[in-house]
Symmetry: C2
Amino acid sequence: MPGRRASIPATVAVRVEHVDTPQAIVSIVEHVAAAGGTLRSLTTVRRVPGDPPLAELEVEIEGIDEPILLETLAAVPEVRGSGLTRALDRVFGKRVIVVGGGAQVAQVALGAVSEADRHNLRGERISVDTIPLVGEANIAAAVRAVADLPRARLLVLAGSIMGGDITRAAQELREVGIPVIALNMVGSITDAVDLVVSDPVQAGTMAVMAVADTATFDLARQRGRRY
Amino acid sequence: MPGRRASIPATVAVRVEHVDTPQAIVSIVEHVAAAGGTLRSLTTVRRVPGDPPLAELEVEIEGIDEPILLETLAAVPEVRGSGLTRALDRVFGKRVIVVGGGAQVAQVALGAVSEADRHNLRGERISVDTIPLVGEANIAAAVRAVADLPRARLLVLAGSIMGGDITRAAQELREVGIPVIALNMVGSITDAVDLVVSDPVQAGTMAVMAVADTATFDLARQRGRRY
């Protein structure tokens, strides 16, 4: 499996309030790079209209210590303030994504949340993130977009009929290192995924077991099976 | 309610493969700013070890058209390739976050996913994202981190006893414009939230109604009530 599951160096997370000009982000990134840091994620979490307009960023930086990062940011002319936060990886952890029809998504979530509870009690951090959608184009777009979601580790497709472009999207997702579990359903999808599970609660449970370091379930050894 | 819920200009989403040096991000941001674009989000989605090591970014840029952005990126020396994707906002939309004990989180998710299904059928995009957690410190950290989650619009606290630092964290979250619904439970949390709902399925349903443009439910008119 490619890079996504490889161990990733720790980042420092920081909230930054800055004057909202296009140059502000350039300044911030330049100062951080000059201090030896690499920007790994950035989210604009809030904008405050006014004169000048302000914006708040949540950023994660690699390769730099917390006190040096705060000092560095304080020297950026556009920055109005900054403070350490906790990297989202440490709070919400690995994400199991569930996409499909509402009734089935809810049952997969039930299994996955219950199983995640057991692992999170033992020090894991696993989130279960869901969206109910209808239609081949919408579902295929969501499957492809899972590759863009930070910390997404596994996708469960929960529905009654899926094929065509959804199947192509699932294959693309597996190629970038994110495995896919599907419910047993009509359509070509069940031939294109890592594992097929008939019961949605069981599918959610197995999905969480597959990503939990606290479990002994190895998806690689189950590849191609149907339960 | 402050900036977070105000309408936000559309962004162009693009996947960028680049040589993974600290200078690469600086180059990309500088070129984009020179072309009139502002970086609004950046996620490192994949790293490919090798010589040189490569990385893949998913970025969203404001203030620049798609063809000009692709041309701009092609001129960055560190960029190996880029292609348009779909902004996550258009795929996964608004996020309702559910945090708390596994049994209750699962029931809130059941109500929220079923209700989101009905609204997404009518053109909405609502996701339901969950994490089961134990302990005041862990839950308070998660509540605070909801402010850092892109597209988070509402938090549901699902548990049997919450107070202390969780209550302070909920107040902070509401101050940045993210409302909070709590189950009816032991502890000070029920005095510090926008709405208290006894039934978890109903809490999930109301949470989705409160963020859906396709619903006529106005949380502001329910503030402080208990159901």
